[in-house]
Symmetry: C2
Subunit: 335 residues, 2 copies
């Protein structure tokens, strides 16, 4: 059922450092079963810890799609990359990419893909005609992380909770709404590229009727308090009609991401605003916990901070990536 | 500076009734100086009260663009219409349309437009690469109507207030964000067709720096409480960074438009939600009045209702189309 055929060979190219391979790391961390190996070019400074493979070796190991797991420099697909991508198509791989510059805009890749019958997946571009949202109540349950800012750990929160639920044998699906999430799971909605009128409908489409005890963990985007992207967040809240909200926060930001004149809201302000809006679509919605991204804090500092948040908010608080998502899943199970 | 060259000849086609000519009526009501006449086909049941003209007569009267001022039946541009549209291109008219099915998707129109050097304006489709919103404070003032529901009179509220301000010699511009508004004024942003990430940026682009005593009247869209379109409304609130909000309401609705399971919010609920969100982008934002669409009420009933709203909300309330926008402009002038 996946939009992108798995398993993958992860293309790390000539990544200048480990950070540039963020997408490949995400796949390795969250869906290791989806990746048979990594492909590194000369000078590559990233290593996600998978077996280095040639294209032929990866095909023999069963890989179906070469996923570009690395950011490119200057928004250009270099001739060195191009050589590998063309060879991969010739070897029988589909290609998948979340790059800003699209595979489909490269005439040579398009020509070779057509000649070989392979697919080019640009996950930044919607490939579905989404409906207008109808707001009808759907079966099953949905959880959404809403942030005090962009890029505070909403995707990792959803992935951690999904992982913990599956380990417990609970029914759970991560629902990707961004490029990295889509490449990790092979499917999803590239919400920031959807036409305005269809945003909420695309989220309804992504999170359909399901078993009563099944949870969708919808990947959050933007923030209600981030003026550039708040409309996207709103569509997630109303299209996703969440039963549970998790408040996501990164405590060391000096201002809103990309907006030096704007400060992050407090967690109580986020709670009140998000809950009031969510209850328009689902009057039973509850805020069930707080997810704090403590990556810039020492362990003692992080634990003290989480304890203080629990006392202030009267909600379980954790850094799910660092300390596990158990508290949040316990709270979900009680909904 | 207009995207669409004025003045217009208004094409009413074979409109089955007056309602079908909504766009033409809007142009006639709000920018009569933009229309030299109307073009009606045999069997047309609409009449906006302009002189009936042939294409040649309209060209001689100075018309530059044939505007499709009527909804088509079944989403198809009929052969009868096509004949007129092709002749209009041949006569030297540009064409402008807000229809769902696009002029640019009609091969014959495209071919004739290319051969004659004329333009096809599909105002449903953005023609600008809008920026990501930067949230920076802009000079000048902005007013936005936010509704308890979709289609409650937000565009008419903005047009009425703009009209009243211009009559008083105040600096004012109506900023269109929908198809009808764009055709009325010849310019604007078709917000519901903008890509999610660029919605708020397109509203910033539409309402740039201006004189300190100049007001933009931004055409509202959707509703914060309408789950299908709330993301678009949010982008208007954060991209427009309004100094003043007007609450728009239609009191006779039985449920939210198109959503039988959803009820309209109360005016206090709308006020509190919209104001809290607007103050993220503009802490000085105020709610300055209430605009009620009383078209389904008798005059006495309407006046009594408005008086009750004024008492309940402690804000000026009017139906600006029926009773004038004076009260709302008085309140704006005091901001």
């Amino acid at each position: 059922m996946s939009m992108i055929e798995t398993p993958y060979l992860l293309f790390l190219g000539d990544a200048p450092d480990q950070l540039a391979a963020k997408v490949a790391i995400g796949i390795k961390d969250w869906r290791p079963e989806n990746a048979v190996g990594q492909f590194r070019m000369e000078g590559c400074k990233a290593d996600v810890g998978l077996t280095d493979m040639t294209l032929v070796e990866a095909r023999e190991a069963g890989a179906k799609t070469l996923v570009i797991g690395v950011a490119n420099r200057g928004g250009v697909i270099s001739p060195e990359w191009k050589k590998v991508l063309v060879m991969a198509l010739e070897e029988g791989f589909d290609l998948a990419s979340g790059l800003h510059n699209l595979l489909r805009d490269e005439p040579d890749l398009v020509a070779v893909a057509e000649a070989t019958g392979r697919k080019l997946h640009d996950v930044r571009v919607p490939e579905v005609d989404y409906p207008i949202a109808n707001g009808k109540k759907r079966r099953g349950k949905r959880c959404l992380a809403v942030g005090t800012d962009c890029s505070v750990g909403k995707m990792y929160t959803a992935l951690c909770m999904d992982d913990e639920m599956r380990k417990r044998g609970m029914k759970s699906t991560f629902r990707a709404t961004g490029q990295t999430g889509i490449l990790i799971t092979g499917d999803g909605v590239p919400l920031d590229a959807v036409i305005a009128d269809f945003m909420a409908g695309s989220v309804e489409w992504l999170t359909p009727d399901n078993d009563d005890d099944h949870w969708d963990h919808i990947e959050g985007q933007g923030s209600l308090f981030h003026v550039s992207y708040s409309g996207v967040t709103m569509a997630l809240i109303h299209g996703g009609q969440p039963d549970a909200l998790v408040l996501a926060h990164e405590p060391t930001r000096e201002h809103m991401r990309g907006l030096p004149e704007y400060q992050q809201p407090s967690l109580p302000d986020l709670r009140d605003m998000a809950l009031a809006l969510a209850r328009v679509a689902n009057p039973a919605c509850q805020v069930i916990g707080v997810s704090v991204n403590t990556q810039h804090m020492g362990e003692d500092e992080a634990k003290a901070y989480l304890a203080a948040i629990e006392a202030e908010m009267n909600l379980p608080a954790t850094d799910p990536f660092r300390f596990g998502a158990g508290k949040l899943v316990d709270a979900l199970a009680a909904v």
